[in-house]
Amino acid sequence: MNIINKIGLGIFVAALALFTLSLGLDSYQLKNEHLPGKSTSHQEAIKVAAEESGIIGKEYTNNIAYIADLKKAFKQAQKTQEENAKNGIPDGVNEWDFRMSDGDVKSYVFSAVKASSNGLIANNKLLFFFLTIGLGALGGLIYILPTFLKIPGIKNDHIYHSSMQRGLTVNVRGFFLAATILGLLVYGFYYTGGQLLWPVITLIIIGLIMYLVLGRKNEKSHEPTKSASPNITGWIGVITGVYLIVFYIILYWAPAYMTSWINMVDPLSHAMSGNDASQWFLYGTLYTIVIIVMGIRMIAKYRHNKYQILRTISVMFFQTVFAFTLPEILIRLNKPYYDFKNIWPLNYSFFFDYNIKDMLANGSFGIFLLVWGIALALVAVPVFVYFFGKRWYCSWVCGCGGLAETMGDPYRQLSDKSLRAWKYERYIINGVLVFAVVMTLLVLYTYFTGQGRVFGFLDSYSVRTWYGFLIGSGFAGIVGTGFYPLMGNRTWCRFGCPLAAYLGIVQRFKSKFRITTNGSQCISCGNCSTHCEMGIDVRWYAQRGQDIVRSSCVGCGVCSAVCPRGVLRLENGDSDISERASETRAIHISEDEVKLLY
């Protein structure tokens, strides 16, 4: 590290520390005008409960105590409404405008905390935005700067000497995986209001997949030994992973604790959509800034490689314009929020009734959105994958892919290359695809028939809740990004994304895309496999001169970039594809003399 690196890192760490501390720096005073409620009856109940509990006007400097008190008061209001409901819901009032759901209570706590923030951060929103997020980005950029001055070429020195990038031993990794799954299932039990059904079904499916992978004959002898397991765990990486996991837990399920951060981006949100910021706006802002800063890092690192540069600019563009800016402009124009590049089934709520209604309520523009969304999934996916492979989406357009390719790049080597990991991958990702399709069909059934239950027992509402909780938040967020430093940057894309599964099926069976190998030039060094973020053992194919057609390949092109012998090339062309991708190629001896082996 030279002096510029150190300055940049110092600024970044200071900004991150202030950012983290800022969660405890605000103070709160609840006033009547801060009290939430989506209906008059809710507003009244909350007002009564708040007055009785004595929190109005009280000064809090500790948001944990404050949120606890608020929760208590609002739960009381919920109870009151529940009891009033026993006497019958007044005429002309919607049941759920009268009854208060757990979700209502949660969002009321959140908006009350945010509105009643009144302290250092809330009164200096812009200043803190620049001191934390702004300085963090600046520090990152300064840290990256010296890379531009180096001689262009592959820059992977010391990644396995780095505590940040080295990864975990198999045991520590196993601990994190098991703890995360169990934690999700236990919390999911509470999240769904004490239903055992879904956690139990999930557990059974996990058990089934483990049996399918491990229970087979001879599987014992397939014990992976070269999985992503260093001898010593990189603890800075573990700490980073834990930080990210905690961030996602708060973001999804306890945003009331991060109102200081959300307040910081209020001015930006006002400027863009005219509304107060939500936790999702905060998330979008951070996401976009991270992709831009780390995208610049990627460009510096690969500035000899035009494919990498263009691809990185592409994901930076789609995130900034399509995912972040356009939806906010739509809101400003009173149109539905819409991310034009988000495709079902990754965008799993596209066919949810409220979304369809929202689009239908917006005239011809809404119809356009509906048709656009369906066309993306049913036409664009197969057609573009046929011509270019799934990379057109996964590593050029997608937001999850964009984050993985930029912020996640330092961790790409941590994907598990073992055969066993590949077996898990196939069951899990296709399982999620099936789950997404079934869930969507049930939702549509309910939309068209008005029936909540299908076959008398499947409740489409609880199916979509569980999908959103387990896959949408747990898998895509907590595991998807929180596990970057633990299991690599494409954990979600490789094991979980239903859209990736769908794109992958097309890529595997009907696409011109492949990675070709250059004759016999492979030296089996393993750089390609090591740096494959999707955990493909690229070398397995390259060393036998076999073209590579794999459903999981996102076409990032890094295998080709890191190859020291120029062996791999991403290509779109389907002549002889089944012949050259088959195992029947022998290239080392002249073919007239011996019969083909492999």
């Binding site: 592959i154 494919y307 263009l310 030039q521």
Partner: protein, 445 residues
């Protein structure tokens, strides 16, 4: 039948894999170096932290048991060719029906004073890597003796840890006994550009002892003394056959084998770096210590061991390497000093890190060889052009077929056509740009 293979490098392992594909014979691979096969060419990446040792293993550890290839970690002390028995360093003796010797190379030492001191190592074995790792802590300077492929790798390794490094090269330009002058100068420039102390036309005279049996300085032929904590010996390699010498096995520089890779003793074969072909095909050397030939010999010997006689034919020469940031590929005949019958066209990028060279026959115009720096060309296409004795003008007009650089990379094939036009006064034009379908159609022709 019981087959024993000595050496678990690329040759020995390729032989084992192909014997398994062809037969049900019992296969045992013996190595004293590591438990499992790893890619020797990747040793440098372990040191530089690009990969771990585990990542350099081309097959998972269960692969061997699944394919019934027995691995044995031991050193072979001697071979009883009469009794068909091996004696191992642990005292065990192993009988065999057929024996394949694939013991690879050892680093050259030319009798320099101090060459056997501690802190003096080649960069060939896993143990060499461990030694480099061990002595890198607090190392103030390393001196590397010899400017071949391994010398520059070793320099890159030390350089990655910011350890000042001096390379002593006997020639007046890096590797100019193999590379043509322009390419050789390009690499020399690149080494210096990285801040490595490249000493051309300089040789080692002696290595000094610090009094405890460790090297602490070297003296050069020019008389200069350089303090250093590590001396790398990378002046080439020789067949690693010392333990077999003075026996019945015919050994010259390497183990002498015929075109079927058989030695003078029945049922004993030798392959890879340690084998010396008694009548190499035209234009090829008797010993070629290269990954690719080792792999081909492994495959060939498997057929011969399984009683399917196949001649070893390495085909058209090819090789590749990477000089720090510059990739290098060669196909066919590109000698350091072009032969009388050869003509050459050479184009170099203004950044001084990319070049293309094509050699062709002065009279017939047939293309003879390709030399690429920082640019990738397709192996199969170049090979076919050379094998078909294609006219250089035909090659130039369809040069796009050979281009293997990643998508969106600028293509420089046109520049080479320009060079040719300038040299000959002709007006050729590039007709074919790159594209896989065209390539595959061409290859099928």
């Amino acid at each position: 039948m019981k087959i024993i293979i000595i050496g678990n490098g690329i040759s020995g392992i390729t032989a084992a894999r192909f014997i398994r594909k062809l037969s049900d014979h019992s296969i045992t691979v013996i190595s004293s170096e590591t438990d499992h096969f790893f890619s020797r060419t990747a040793l440098m990446y372990i040191y530089m932290g690009h990969m771990r040792y585990e990542d350099t293993k081309p097959y998972e550890d269960w692969f061997w048991e699944k394919n019934r290839i027995e691995l044995k970690r031991a050193r072979v002390e001697s071979v009883g060719f009469e009794q068909k028995t091996l004696t191992l360093d642990n005292g065990e003796s192993l009988p065999y029906d057929k024996l394949i010797i694939a013991t690879g190379s050892a680093s050259n030492k030319f009798g320099w004073p101090g060459q056997d001191l501690e802190r003096v190592y080649g960069m060939y074995t896993f143990q060499d890597l461990e030694a480099m790792e061990k002595y890198s802590d607090g190392l103030k300077r390393a001196v590397i003796v010899g400017g071949g492929l391994i010398g520059i790798e070793m320099a890159e390794m030390f350089h990655s840890r910011h350890i000042p490094t001096t390379i002593l090269v006997r020639e007046e330009s890096y590797w100019n006994n193999i590379l043509p002058a322009e390419e050789s100068q390009m690499v020399s420039r690149h080494i210096k550009e990285h801040g490595i102390d490249l000493r051309l036309s300089e040789e080692l005279k002696e290595i000094h002892d610090d009094g405890n049996g460790h090297a602490n300085a070297v003296t050069l032929k020019s008389g200069e003394k350089i303090d250093c904590g590590f001396v790398g010996l990378t002046a080439g390699v020789h067949p690693n056959v010392g333990f077999l010498k003075n026996g019945a096995l015919k050994i010259e520089r390497g183990i002498v084998v015929n075109e079927h890779l058989e030695t003078n003793i029945p049922d004993v074969y030798a392959i890879g770096d340690c084998a010396q072909i008694n009548e190499p095909v035209e234009g090829r050397r008797a010993i070629e210590a290269v990954w690719y030939t080792g792999k081909m010999m492994g495959e060939t010997v498997a057929y011969n061991v399984c009683d399917k006689k196949v001649k070893y034919n390495p085909g058209i020469w090819f090789n590749s390497a990477k000089f720090m940031d510059i990739e290098y590929m060669v196909y066919g005949d590109v000698p350091a000093k072009k032969a009388d019958y050869m003509n050459t066209i050479y184009w170099e990028h203004s950044d001084g890190r990319k070049s293309i060279r094509i050699n062709f026959h002065k009279e017939s115009g047939e293309v003879l060889g390709f030399n690429l720096m920082g640019i990738r060309y397709r192996h199969e296409v170049c090979e076919k052009w050379i094998a078909d004795k294609t006219h250089v003008e035909n090659v130039l007009q369809h040069l796009g077929l050979a281009n293997f650089d990643p998508e969106f990379y600028k293509q420089y094939d046109k520049e080479l056509v320009k060079v040719y036009n300038k040299q000959t006064g002709k007006k050729l034009e590039l007709k074919t740009k790159r594209g896989l379908n065209k390539v595959l159609a061409f290859l099928k022709k």
